[in-house]
Amino acid sequence: MSALDRFPPGHGDRALIAGIVCLFIGALFTMTPLRVQLPSAFYVFVEVGILFVIYGVLVLGLDLQYGHTGLVNFGHVVFFAVGAYATAMLSAQDTFTGIGLGYPWPLGLAVGVIAAAILGAAVSLTSIRLRGDFLAIVTLATAEIFHSLFVNFEDIFGGNVGILGVPRPIAAVISDSDTQLVATLLVLGGITFLTLAVVIRLTDAPYGRVLRAIRADELVTRSVGKSTITYKMQAFVYGAALAGLAGGMFALYNGAVAPGFFTIQVTVTVWIGMLLGGAANHRAVLAGLAIIMGLRLISRFALNVTPVAGDVFASIRLIVVGLILVAVIRYRPAGIWGDPQELGVDQ
């Protein structure tokens, strides 16, 4: 308990401890013959849970960009996709199409994060000066360009099939599928907790105060001698790198990447989660994301009891998601747990 005595127990430290505990238990599963059995009804929860913790890293990065700095990045999925593809292409063995170099996966993950950060740097170098809505359009267009590159360059990216044969480090050491799922959730969840701890540390520091000052009033911030462009570019690159990390995690969990996993739907999901929870509040954006992804669970259960076809149900779910976005912006612009005064949206 010496660590607790030395630091005042803040959210960041609690997230740090939770992350370490999760990773520890997860590691226990991989190192020892300890096994768990899941009731079959729990499978879907664990599966959506894994996707949630991966998207959680995405939303934390996006919140750093939009919630704290006010950068409207509407192509967040492109950094997720680039991270996933870079990881997959470096580490895949015997992929069916595209490039698979077969290097060890930690190298692939590192390159994935770096590749996403480089793309983030390129986008921010060129476009960070644009007004909010135009930055949104440029990032959206970037995502569309990369999507069509992934689909069209079959020799490199594997076209619509994508890259197969990506190593799955957790599945490699645990053969039992129940334990595999639980261990994956714990390890990836632990990484998400650690990410949370890091971004809380970052935004509680004076650095985070500068970011929020830029969002509130860029001119004033510049007038007190802060180089706002540099800060904005840094925040953008951090967000992109986190998305790359999420992409690498996704590739190594899923064992394959394909353009179908990286559509604009991903961007929309994390945006709605962030706005619903309340931008600029790390735990709120995660809670908002949980609500939106919980909707996915509900619709999956409802699908089993209602007589309508799957695609009809998907349409209805997307109508609801779209209307939630509209309603949040209109009636609760600060989100459920956000602070309207701090966000400057109170009327």
């Binding site: 476009s127 909010g132 069209n152 462009i229 779209g322």
Partner: protein, 304 residues
């Protein structure tokens, strides 16, 4: 196919993109928002036109007029319901609202219209010009025989008609002059006694009417499905920004540049990569925003 043929295709797609881009850019200039749901307005125009053409006995132009009226009504109803109440919040919340509305509308259309694509049944005449000699340089034929259909001529002709009408509307009528005044400076326009809400509503109606027309023309050239308009929204957006957001004349020019670049890149790209031609539009868009963000004829969109 020769380059000449691709240029004709480019002119045709440039024409319907231009009609839509005028509506899009007017909303941008006067309501001050990027309306990402605009593609769905086109889709609804296409569906209304398709219904009218198949249910009503009248000739095709009647269906087009009904689509235009329907588009105008849809546009003003959606604006009153979703955009007017949050007009004061600024461009980013409006853009996000339009993205959410677009997702909801697109899926509602898919729910009621189904997933399959439908086709307008129109009689077309084809005029062939096969006597033109080929001038081949490598794999690209720079001249070559070509054809043009009556549909192509109708699309290009409608676009010319729209340009004339919009030009006259903006320069010769009180409403149009008020629109331009509001685009320049809304506060000054209000001081001068212009009813800004009324003008905003008339812009929504005009944009909806243009969307109805563009939607039907687009659907005649491609098909009627839930993605008809959405698959063109980034091209429309690129055209509007290329021309200088807020400027209808710039949007026309931008639309033809986009249409021709898409067509020519189809001719030059190897056949396995024709899917990349849509990426070309976005590359142009990004290049424009980097080099001259104000577009060919527009205002500054950079803050610092």
């Amino acid at each position: 196919m020769g380059l000449l043929q691709e240029l004709i295709f480019g002119l045709v797609s440039g024409s319907y993109i231009a009609i839509a881009a005028i509506g899009f850019t007017l909303i941008y200039g006067i309501v001050n928002m990027i309306n990402f749901a605009y593609g769905e307005y086109l889709t609804m125009g296409a569906f209304i036109g398709y219904l009218a053409a198949n249910v009503l006995p009248g000739p095709f132009p009647v269906a087009v007029v009904i689509a235009m009226i329907g588009g105008g009504i849809v546009s003003i109803v959606l604006a009153r319901g979703f955009f007017s109440p949050i007009n004061h919040t600024g461009p980013v919340p409006m853009l996000l609202t339009s993205i959410g509305l677009g997702i909801a509308l697109r899926n509602a259309i898919r729910l009621f219209g189904g997933r399959s694509a439908r086709y307008f049944e129109t009689e077309t005449l084809t005029f062939r010009f096969d006597a033109v000699p080929d001038i081949s340089v490598g794999p690209v034929d720079f001249l070559g025989g070509f054809f043009i259909t009556s549909e192509h001529l109708i699309v290009i002709g409608s676009a010319m008609g729209v340009f004339t009408v919009v030009h006259l509307l903006l320069t010769r009528t009180d409403v149009g002059i008020a629109m331009r005044a509001m685009g320049d400076d809304e506060t000054l326009a209000r001081v001068r006694g212009i009813d800004t809400q009324l003008i905003r509503d008339s812009v929504w109606v005009l944009a909806g009417v243009l969307a109805g027309l563009a939607g039907v023309l687009m659907a005649v050239q491609t098909n009627v499905s839930a993605d008809t308009g959405y698959s063109h929204i980034l091209q429309i957006l690129s055209a509007a920004i290329l021309g200088g957001a807020g400027s209808p004349y710039g949007a026309i020019l931008g639309a033809y540049v986009i249409g021709l670049v898409l067509a020519v890149s189809t001719a030059f790209l190897p056949s396995s990569m024709t899917g990349l031609s849509s990426a070309m539009a976005f590359m142009i868009l990004i290049a424009v925003l980097l080099v001259k963000p104000s577009g060919i004829a527009g205002t500054e969109v950079r803050e610092a």
